[in-house]
């Protein structure tokens, strides 16, 4: 009886895992089919469920002048955003979790406000400021704006992670002769590295997918989204799908590349 419930539970568990995986992958598979279809097939009905491997649409983009430069710019901006948002955000996350200080509530609200106001409205004053200060049309300038978008994530995620680590652990390290700093680097930091990776992924993805500021603030140094994505919705169907595919793939590769850091510290976290 018990063994039976266990095995049916096991079955239910496996089935849900598979179902949830399918839920994520199937729509992407449809995108792949459409990307690898000729213009005729993309418009046809009923749709085939096996790609026909027509590379025409992808080849069109391969021959697109400036594609590689735009790709390079996108990666540069996203990388800078990632580093800046963590360096600037994590200390604040630590402060929020460990200290009670006057103005804490206000500070948290400021962080959240940042995310609750649409960037396209802020783009005008930002662009004026950038043109006046010479930050305009630089990869660094755009990374600054994207960092603003990513900071709420990095602060709040690191905050919740630090909060999950018992203060006693740090205090124990202090009694064992660690300073506040070494206790942090030796005890706390390893524990929250997976979380930091999570917020790094956010920062990267936010920057990678951001269109509006990129379109306004870069001219010669266009990012891939500004260069490609913002005009996709007006393009013919087959190119729309191929362009969408080209944008999706690098982000997937990035997440795949860092996924192991997300778990590298698993053993330690599960002391």
């Amino acid at each position: 009886m018990n063994a039976q419930t266990q095995s049916s539970g096991r079955f239910l568990y496996t089935a849900s895992v598979i179902l949830l995986c399918a839920w994520v992958i199937v729509p992407l598979y449809f995108l792949l089919i459409n990307t690898l279809s000729s213009p005729d097939t993309v418009n046809s009905f009923p749709k085939s469920f096996v790609p026909e491997f027509d590379l025409g649409s992808l080849q069109f983009f391969a021959g697109f002048a400036g594609m590689l430069t735009a790709l390079k710019n996108s990666i540069l901006v996203a990388g800078m955003t990632m580093i800046m948002s963590i360096l600037i955000g994590a200390p604040a996350g630590y402060a929020l979790s460990r200290f009670d200080f006057p103005g804490k509530g206000l500070f948290r609200l400021l962080i959240l406000l940042t995310r609750a106001f649409p960037l396209p409205l802020l783009a005008l004053p930002l662009a004026v400021m950038f043109i006046r200060t010479g930050l305009d049309d630089t990869v660094f300038g755009l990374a600054l704006v994207h960092t603003t978008l990513a900071i709420p994530f990095s602060v709040l995620i690191t905050f919740s992670l630090f909060s999950g680590i018992p203060l006693e652990l740090e205090e124990a390290a202090w009694t064992l002769g660690c300073t506040r700093l070494t206790a942090f680097t030796k005890v706390v930091l390893p524990l929250i590295l997976p979380g930091i990776t999570a917020s790094a992924i956010f920062a990267f993805v936010i920057s990678w997918n951001e269109v509006f500021a990129a379109a306004v603030l870069t001219i010669e140094n266009r990012t891939l989204t500004a260069f490609l994505l913002q005009n996709l919705d007006t393009s013919p169907l087959h190119l729309k799908f191929a362009g969408g595919f080209i944008l999706v793939v690098p982000a997937l590769i990035f997440i795949f590349a860092v996924r192991k850091y997300l778990f590298a510290m698993w053993g330690i976290a599960n002391r």
């Binding site: 783009a123 005008l124 662009a127 043109i131 306004v216 996709l232 013919p236």
Partner: protein, 421 residues
């Protein structure tokens, strides 16, 4: 020896000059020719043989405007030449655009050249290319044409009957209308439906004839693909055959004709009780006062108006020339189809051409919203036509009074602001 030295020096000079030219790429900041292949064709075929290097950047309206406003506010910029629709320019302060009257180029249409002055005495932009809205149909739909109907001289009544026939025969509503978020539905009401039924746009907005127009449009809507509220580029639905008969901008139908020229026909918009209303689309090129290299920008504007550039532009974007040129024979199918339909439309005995809204300044968007709101309330929300029109009339009156815009064709001319009667 010295000779060779000179050569090397000249080569070096040429090199550095080349470098400096490359640095000063003229930035062409455009809202037109956005689809990726059109942009590519603009870069390669239209701008490739200009003396300087041109950086052609098409943008959505939002970023286009934001960047432009930022440069104007900051007082310095990188944009050399602006490419946009008449409506985009008329929303700008003419002060911010360089006067182009002394450039010596203009379109061959006085009407267009006058519009381009934006109410001042000088050309604020130079008309660059033109298009219009037409009808297109899948050839499969032709057999369902109502008896006695000539596809080149349809009336709205016949169009409704035709759409109904197709609906009945196929079991699906197969008329397509660009009612999506980026669709150009407002132009249909302003330039086609209202002129055809009321011989006006502003004056007759809430007239009894307008009520009839909306009643008829509701009838057409009954045979319109109900997913039309997602359609913004009807070439997609023509190709997927979700739609058999469609109304849209010529360049938004082009892909259907270019991909399967034998499957589709283009024809004029239908006629109503007061004629066959239609309106042009005008795109222009202008120079913002913050342009970094004024001479290069002016040279580029002049280049855009050259006959050979205009033909290259036609092939790249499906927008027609605004200067007199002999069109070559090797035009893409979409251009031939659209050109034929537009010619029939403007040459029709009952033609009732309208003009683009003028003098509305930054209220152009509000003006469009009046018509879009009327559509959403009357057709989508099924509210009473008379009530909605009387309600929207107030908004329209406010816009006209605030801007003081005089009437434009087909409305009868007015002294002062165009009245809503």
């Amino acid at each position: 020896m010295t000779h060779r030295f000179k050569l090397a020096g000249a080569a070096a000079l040429a090199l550095t000059m080349g470098a400096s030219v490359a640095q000063a790429d003229v930035l062409f900041w455009s809202t037109q020719a956005k689809p990726v292949e059109e942009a590519q064709a603009m870069r390669e075929q239209v701008l490739g043989n200009f003396s300087d290097k041109v950086d052609y950047q098409p943008n959505d309206g939002g970023p286009w405007l934001t960047r432009l406003q930022a440069e104007l506010q900051a007082g310095s910029g990188t944009i050399g030449v602006l490419g946009a629709l008449h409506g985009d320019f008329s929303a700008m302060d003419p002060e911010n655009l360089v006067d182009l009257s002394d450039l010596g180029v203009m379109s061959s249409s006085d009407t267009f050249n006058n519009l381009a002055k934006l109410g001042t005495d000088d050309a604020q932009y130079i008309p660059w290319m033109q298009a219009s809205y037409i009808m297109a149909a899948n050839k499969k739909a032709l057999e369902h044409l109502p008896e006695g109907a000539d596809i080149d001289a349809l009336t709205y009544e016949q169009l409704i009957a035709w759409a109904a026939n197709v609906h009945e025969a196929t079991g699906e509503a197969k008329f397509g209308f660009p009612a999506g978020p980026k669709g150009l539905k407002h132009r249909f009401f302003q330039g086609y439906l209202y002129p055809s039924y009321t011989n006006g746009v502003v004056r007759t907005f809430a007239s009894d004839a307008a009520v009839t127009a909306w009643e008829d449009f509701r009838k057409l809507w009954a045979h319109t693909n109900p997913a039309s509220t997602n359609f913004s580029f009807l070439q997609e639905q023509l190709l997927s055959e979700d739609v058999w008969i469609a109304f849209d901008h010529t360049s938004r139908l082009a892909q259907a004709f270019n991909e399967r020229p034998d499957d589709f026909v283009a024809f004029p918009a239908p006629a109503g009780p007061t004629g066959r209303g239609f309106m042009p689309v005008i795109a222009g090129v202008a120079i913002p006062k913050t342009a970094p290299d004024m001479d290069a920008a002016k040279a580029l504007v002049a280049h855009m108006l050259k006959p050979e550039t205009q033909i290259a532009t036609l092939k790249a974007t499906n927008f027609f020339p605004v200067v007199d040129v002999a069109l070559p024979d090797d035009l893409p199918p979409a251009v031939q189809a659209a050109g034929g339909a537009v010619a029939k439309m403007s040459g029709a005995a009952d033609a009732n051409p309208g003009l683009l809204p003028a003098g509305l300044g930054s209220k152009g968007g509000d003006f469009n919203r009046v018509f879009v709101d009327a559509f959403e309330r009357i057709v989508l929300a099924n509210q009473d036509i008379r009530t909605v029109l009387d309600d929207q009339k107030g908004a329209l009156e406010a816009i006209m009074n605030e801007t003081g815009a005089p009437c434009w064709a087909p409305d009868a001319p007015s002294e002062g602001a165009c009245p809503v009667e």
